[in-house]
């Protein structure tokens, strides 16, 4: 086996994993901790891509910086979405069937609206560092992958610290464990879920900016990330952000190897194949209780 090719595949997989963690962290929060199965999450990632694209074309600023500045917008969007979801489904105990269909409809609507506005052409944002590749011996570190990877890992670790160290973060963890106890402590679980869900949508906006720096984006590629994000969360064990990071690394490296040795057209099947296998044999995830 060619060692340079092998090393490059590992590095590319690890860099990709950073981005995947950003994609999955939102699902880890909404699905893993809040039990809200937000399959529209990838729709918001693509929306983030297009918002970053729009502002970039307008002001010429770096898309990742734009997304961080605009993340409060996505936060508010997430709050609104959760409020609708809560009033229409969760409160009536209908979240499993109709709530799923609701989010599926939202995913579909964002996709079609973006197609109506931007068409089905692939769009990419060229940044100052897009063409640069750092080299370490035979191994290349393209900055267009490295920058999103670093920012993403910082974001995921930041969210993890926030959840572990603050009162609000502990309240989020408590929502998934014992809502009654939370009420007795004088905290409104619905409010906590609303804010945590909003946080998950805010991460989607940032992940969208990563995406459009890494690869060309088209409205309907969002659904490819559904399986990916859920595969990572289930693989890492639901509700654990460190698990999410590990799951992202496994998936990133597996996809990179498949693309290198079998051709890129097989790569999408990897995440879904892994997801099906995990669900079949270890539904609690690698680190599940």
């Amino acid at each position: 086996m060619d060692s340079a090719l092998f090393l490059n595949a590992v590095v590319a997989g690890l860099l990709l994993a950073g981005f995947y963690a950003a994609v999955a962290v939102g699902i880890s929060i909404s699905f893993g901790m809040l039990d809200v199965v937000n399959i529209a999450h990838p729709g918001f990632i693509i929306l983030g891509s297009y918002v970053a694209l729009m502002v970039h074309q307008w002001l010429g600023v770096d898309p990742i910086a734009i997304s961080v500045v605009l993340s409060p917008l996505f936060f508010v969007l997430g709050m609104a979405l959760y409020r609708v979801f809560y009033l229409a489904f969760e409160r009536r105990g209908q979240e499993s069937l109709r709530g799923l269909a609701f989010f599926f409809g939202i995913l579909f609507i964002t996709e079609v609206v973006l197609i109506l506005i931007y068409g089905v052409d692939y769009q990419l944002v060229k940044t100052a560092y897009s063409e640069t590749v750092w080299r370490l011996g035979e191994v290349g570190f393209p900055l267009r992958l490295l920058v999103p990877c670093v920012v993403s890992v910082v974001m995921v670790l930041g969210v993890q610290l926030f959840l572990n160290r603050t009162f609000f973060g502990r309240a989020v963890l408590a929502v998934s464990q014992d809502q009654l106890a939370l009420r007795i402590m004088g905290v409104n679980p619905v409010k906590v879920k609303e804010l945590a869900f909003a946080l998950s949508i805010a991460t989607a906006g940032v992940a969208g900016a990563f995406l459009i720096v890494i690869q060309p984006v088209q409205p309907s590629i969002g659904r490819e990330f559904i399986g990916l994000a859920f595969a990572i969360c289930v693989l890492g064990g639901l509700g654990s952000l460190y698990g999410t990071l590990v799951g992202a690394v496994i998936l990133g490296v597996a996809e990179s190897f498949t693309a290198t040795y079998f051709g890129p057209s097989w790569a999408p099947a990897v995440s879904f194949g892994l997801l099906l296998l995990t669900l079949a044999f270890r539904p609690a995830g690698l680190f599940g209780r």
């Binding site: 799923l100 269909a101 097989w266 539904p283």
Partner: protein, 315 residues
């Protein structure tokens, strides 16, 4: 009405409607009607698992594609007659549904939903890389010679075939709904734990329901390659099949076989009209918006309105 009488009535009505419609000379009518009838089958099939049992299937395109690509495969390999395609396509899709069900139906319902989404992408990747059935370029299935049984054209003939298949799907759905199995499925939908405790063989019923539902979806796809002559992965795996097969039962009402039928006829016809008069992308947007609106504001669909109206009259 007993199931046998229902089946006989359904087929008589279907034959009468088909006979009457054959007098229509407009070729567009057959294309539009074919499209709507495919949706009748998909919506009815989806409702068997989604409405009766309470498990969401996002993978309609995957099972539809299994049906269509079984036909392409059998055509390439043996030039098999249509009836063989239909039987094999249904069986293969049913087995695929059974397999996915076996892997995930023991877990929470959410996992089944995600797994079916996953299956659609796996199947797409598989088909794109499988050159024998056309790969990414697509495959041609050419209908040669005159249409069988003296029909004016192949499109007429395939329209009649899909109408018969739609009737079969509705009869099967009603058969399940009104039987002991149907009551078991409803028990699973309402409270799976209680059903299990009451001695309902939940896993076996869920698997049966998944296999039937997915098999019928495959059946809907088997005539596609013949009707459109050109079969290409991206249009077969179109998300519009997934959205429509969920939206139609949700809009019509999920508790009975009538709901998906109403939903499919209404939404299918609306889409054909919008597609001709405005634009096809807008048509998808309307479907999405209607789905979200109905699911949020009228969770029991049109049948729910009808039930509420009946209850009010009784009082």
């Amino acid at each position: 009405m007993s199931n046998r009488r229902f089946a006989i009535t359904a087929f008589v009505v279907a034959i009468a409607l088909i006979g009457a419609s054959l007098a229509i000379e407009n070729a567009y009518f057959f294309t539009a009607a074919y499209g709507v009838l495919v949706f009748v089958i998909l919506a009815t099939a989806w409702n068997i698992l989604g409405g009766y049992t309470g498990y969401v299937n996002f993978g309609t395109p995957a099972f539809f594609a299994i049906g269509a690509y079984t036909t392409v495969f059998l055509y390439n390999a043996f030039q098999a007659p249509l009836i063989v395609d239909i039987v094999c396509g249904t069986a293969v899709a049913g087995l695929a549904g059974l397999a996915v069900g076996y892997l995930t139906l023991r877990l929470r319902g959410v996992f089944f939903a995600i797994a079916t989404l996953a299956l659609a992408v796996v199947m797409l990747t598989f088909v794109v890389n499988w050159e024998y059935v056309g790969g990414a370029r697509g495959a041609y299935v050419i209908t040669r010679g005159d249409a069988p049984f003296g029909f004016a054209s192949w499109k007429h003939y395939l329209y009649v075939v899909i109408a018969v298949l739609a009737t079969v799907a509705i009869v099967v759905a009603r058969l399940l709904e009104r039987s002991k199995i149907g009551r078991g499925l409803a028990a699973i939908r309402d409270d799976e734990l209680a059903a299990e405790c009451a001695g309902v063989p939940t896993l076996r019923l869920k698997l049966l329901s998944a296999a039937t539902s997915c098999g019928l979806m495959g059946m809907a796809g088997t005539t596609y390659p013949y009707f459109y002559a050109y079969t290409e992965p991206l249009s077969i795996f179109s998300l519009s099949y997934a959205v429509n097969s969920i939206a139609m039962p949700m809009i019509g009402g999920m508790t009975s076989w009538v709901g998906p039928l109403i939903g499919a006829l209404l939404l299918g016809t609306l889409q054909q009209l919008v597609q001709v008069t405005i634009a096809s992308d807008l048509n998808l947007l309307i479907t999405g918006l209607l789905l979200v609106l109905f699911v949020t504001l009228a969770p029991n669909g049109i049948l729910g309105w009808f039930d509420a109206w009946k209850r009010r009259r009784k009082r």
